[in-house]
Amino acid sequence: MTPFTYSRASDAGQAVTAISGKPHTKFLGGGTNLIDLMKMGVEAPDELVDINRLPLAQIEELQDKRVRIGALARNSDVAEHDLIKSRYPVLSQALLSGASPQLRNMATVGGNLLQRTRCYYFYDSAFPACNKRKPGSGCGALEGYNRIHAILGQSQQCIATNPSDMCVALAALDAVVRVHGPNGEREITFGDFHRLPGNTPERDTNLAPDELIIAVDLPAMPFAARSHYLKVRDRASYAFALVSVAVALDLGPNKKINEARVALGGVAHKPWRANAAEKKLIGQDANEQTFHAAAAAELAAAKGYKYNSFKIELAKRGIVRALSAVAEMA
């Protein structure tokens, strides 16, 4: 780990001032990803601003029934909160499917939004080719061991996947990310928060370097009480998703689908909102035939590589299974 200076922020404004104009300064939250990356030599900030003491850990209902989750709320606290469990079970399930109890006690919501890929070639700072870690150096995964890599939205520059479970649920829930910058606060809709790799895979998100995430807002969405997170991985617990599916269904009389939310994890550089699948679901009867059609539509554009082509069929089956589980809920 390279040397760095350390300070504690006293409020959000002071934190932003402390980081402004300093590209090698980073905020320190739970540290579960950043400190690991610093040990690996992937990240080497020369200054850390510890934001853990800022009063941003509240989880509260707003007057218009939205729910606001402070950026420093720990993953474990969000997952166990009554508001989240009752209104957005998909989010609670996604959080509890990620990492371990110890890591969830440390990891913050804001930090989870900024988790970096677990692509082996990105994580190994001794490996020469990684456009995300070292722009212009190439992509080791394209022709390498790419079992955990993307099948949707990738570019020739990068086929890394976003590792977060929480973000897949937030994508399905149309969350809004609230950030504090030098010019005050702004909102970023969830679909605009993370980026596809394109020609700038070094940028994971559209957060500006001098902005601090302060909260995530969940819209009032009564039908999200009927939601579910399915995670498929190599072992039963404590592993990243090969494919994951977050779904919510608004079912009318006779199980007609009024509204549908589907998002996928483990398949793309960002949490993947399955718009094509949703289009195929809305207005249809909630049955297996409908679900198969939605899954096929979403994966029509998928492209696999030497070791990850299995994900295409896996994602289809995951969508069908997650939708079936939600349709059968009372």
């Binding site: 040397p3 760095f4 890591l103």
Partner: protein
């Protein structure tokens, strides 16, 4: 009396077995804070049961000497001129920061390099070597400690982040000579082989029960999945947690 080589190695193996059990469950280090404090006060008192680094130093020492040693946990003493470790020393060149930690009920003011993890501060500065460095990347759980009552991976947390925090390590679980019910249950059910993951397993298990996540085999397995045991003692660990859950601590 000069020990025969075969006798000696047999005794060493015996000692290793005894210390394995004691250290794995934290019993050996249960009074480490006291021993450490007395050392800070200038009293060099080295009892193998009271000084957490003794096993390491002891084995290192017997490897290079043929001094006769009477084996047994209650009679073991040694008299090397071990250098006292002060909590105030600074190891690295970069600017040290002061941090106040409350560890196992005792307050420590440390000057630490900002890079120092909580795990390294506990092990290398406070000599609380019960918490183990396994993977050092938050993947194995051997470094699990309780911070303000919650279990975390101390390897992925910087010491300077814990100003004023209350930290409980495996050394702080027992009440005097009385093992924590979880420690006793791990011994009772043989919940370990090599013992390396055990301090983390026990700290994690204590939290697992306290959180209310020890209701049935499947729930315990899921909520203990952050602690890897490469000896594969999982069935016995599960049995130990189930038993400890039924026992309340006085």
């Amino acid at each position: 009396m000069e020990a025969e080589p075969n006798q000696f190695s047999g005794r060493l193996a015996n000692l290793t077995e005894v210390t394995r059990q004691l250290e794995a469950t934290g019993a050996m280090a249960s009074e480490s804070g006291d021993a450490f404090q007395s050392e800070v006060d200038g009293v060099n008192e080295h009892s193998i049961l009271g000084y957490p680094e003794t096993r390491r130093k002891f084995i290192k020492q017997v490897a290079g000497t043929s001094v006769a040693i009477a084996i047994g946990p209650n009679v073991l003493t040694y008299a090397s001129a071990s250098e006292p470790v002060s909590p105030g020393t600074t190891a690295a060149a970069s600017a040290a920061l002061k941090v106040n930690l409350n560890v196992n009920g005792k307050k420590f003011a440390l000057d630490v390099d900002p890079r120092m993890t909580l795990l390294d501060a506990l092990r290398e500065r406070l000599q609380l070597t019960g918490s183990k460095k396994g993977c050092d990347h938050g993947q194995c759980g051997a470094c699990t400690v309780l911070v303000n009552g919650r279990r975390i991976n101390s390897c992925l947390s910087l010491a300077v982040m814990h100003e004023g925090d209350e930290i409980t390590t495996i050394e702080g679980l027992a009440g005097g000579d009385e093992l924590h019910p979880m420690q006793a249950a791990f011994i009772e059910h043989d919940g370990f082989q090599c013992g390396y993951c055990t301090p983390g397993q026990i700290c994690s298990a204590v939290a697992c029960v306290k959180e209310g996540h020890a209701n049935g085999d499947d729930q315990i397995r899921e909520w203990m999945s952050g602690n890897i045991c490469r000896c594969g003692a999982y069935p016995n660990i599960l049995a130990a947690i189930k038993e400890a859950k039924t026992k309340t601590r006085a």
